[in-house]
């Protein structure tokens, strides 16, 4: 038998990226920014969104897509803070959300009646970084109970994010975490990273975060 070589040169992510482009165009047409929240499990993605829905949900029409390997617990938690639909995606073992899941979830969301979309990815600092979901930007969360050098250990997530949200600053008196070192590690990986400091417990703990969100909404309206 003769062996024949077929030249392929096709990116493995081509189909996902094609679907992501469709999502991006759909969001663009509707003028809705969408943020993909990525972090290790327990960094506080759901807690941040709970407070955000509770505090801004009346003024800003926020839709949420949550991804978890099992259970729709996060979606149930978030649904307590909003009358709007929270789309739960159970990945059944997969370690990340992909563009098809997001495109399907967005199909159930009325984007014309939405100002802002959050996609809460599966808690995992490795795999979600590789999947473009069609989002406006990736936001990576890092809590002060983790190691300051996580950006060096998991560089892809920090390299592909535009924004870093440091969470749980209320715990600073109880941990040996150095904010300065964490920011230094993050900027070493991605010098353009915008860094926000947050706490869902401290008074004014989310002011920087809300300022960031308002700026995104304002920018989109002005466009």
């Amino acid at each position: 038998m003769a062996i024949r070589t077929i030249d392929v040169r096709e990116r493995v992510m081509a189909r996902n990226d094609q679907l992501a482009t469709g999502v991006r165009e759909q969001l663009g047409r509707a003028g809705v920014p969408a943020f993909n929240l990525v972090s290790s499990p327990g960094a506080g993605k759901t807690a941040l969104l709970e407070r955000t829905l509770a505090d801004l949900g009346r003024a800003v029409r926020i839709a949420v897509v949550t991804g978890d390997v099992q259970t729709q617990n996060d979606a149930d938690r978030l649904a307590q803070h909003t009358d709007r639909l929270v789309q739960a995606v159970v990945t059944n073992g997969a370690c990340h959300l992909d563009a098809l899941q997001v495109a399907t979830a967005l199909g159930a969301i009325d984007l014309e009646a939405t100002d802002l979309v959050f996609i809460e990815n599966v808690g995992n600092l490795v795999c979600p970084a590789s999947w473009d979901l069609g989002e406006t930007g990736k936001i990576v969360l890092l809590s002060v109970t983790e190691g300051e050098d996580k950006p060096l250990k998991y560089p892809t997530a920090f390299r592909r994010a535009a924004t870093l949200v440091l969470t749980k600053l209320d715990l600073m008196p109880h941990v040996s975490f150095s904010l300065e070192r964490a920011v230094q590690c993050a900027l070493e990986i991605n010098p353009d990273l915008q860094v926000l400091f947050t706490s869902t417990i401290l008074p004014e703990g989310l002011e920087e975060w809300y300022g960031f969100l308002r700026a995104q909404l304002h920018r989109r309206r002005a466009a």
Binding site: A2, I3, I6, V8, R9, R11, V12, M13, R15, V126
Partner: protein, 86 residues
């Protein structure tokens, strides 16, 4: 864990290129994987070997070349052309 998703997509691309009927004739699958592609080579090799050993494949070999950057693509397929060449 996402190496299995990557491996499944590689198999889908192979099927798209050669057609379902020709999948048993695939002998090798060439891949380029960047150092920063977020893919663990041992895990990807294991997933590909497992998938390529099961029907409709008949034991094709994954051939992975490391590259700088974050490239992740199927570079070539080797297939038996179905005609005896002797």
């Amino acid at each position: 864990m996402h190496e299995m998703s990557v491996a499944l997509e590689v198999c889908r691309i192979a099927e798209e290129r050669v057609g379902t009927d020709a999948l048993p004739t695939v002998r090798a699958v060439g891949l380029e994987v960047g150092e920063q592609a977020g893919v663990e080579i041992g895990s990807l090799t294991f997933c590909l070997e497992t998938l390529l050993a099961a029907p409709p494949f008949t034991g094709a070999t994954p051939v992975i070349e490391r590259r700088p950057g974050d490239v992740l693509r199927v570079s070539y397929l080797e297939v038996e052309d179905g005609h005896p060449d002797d």
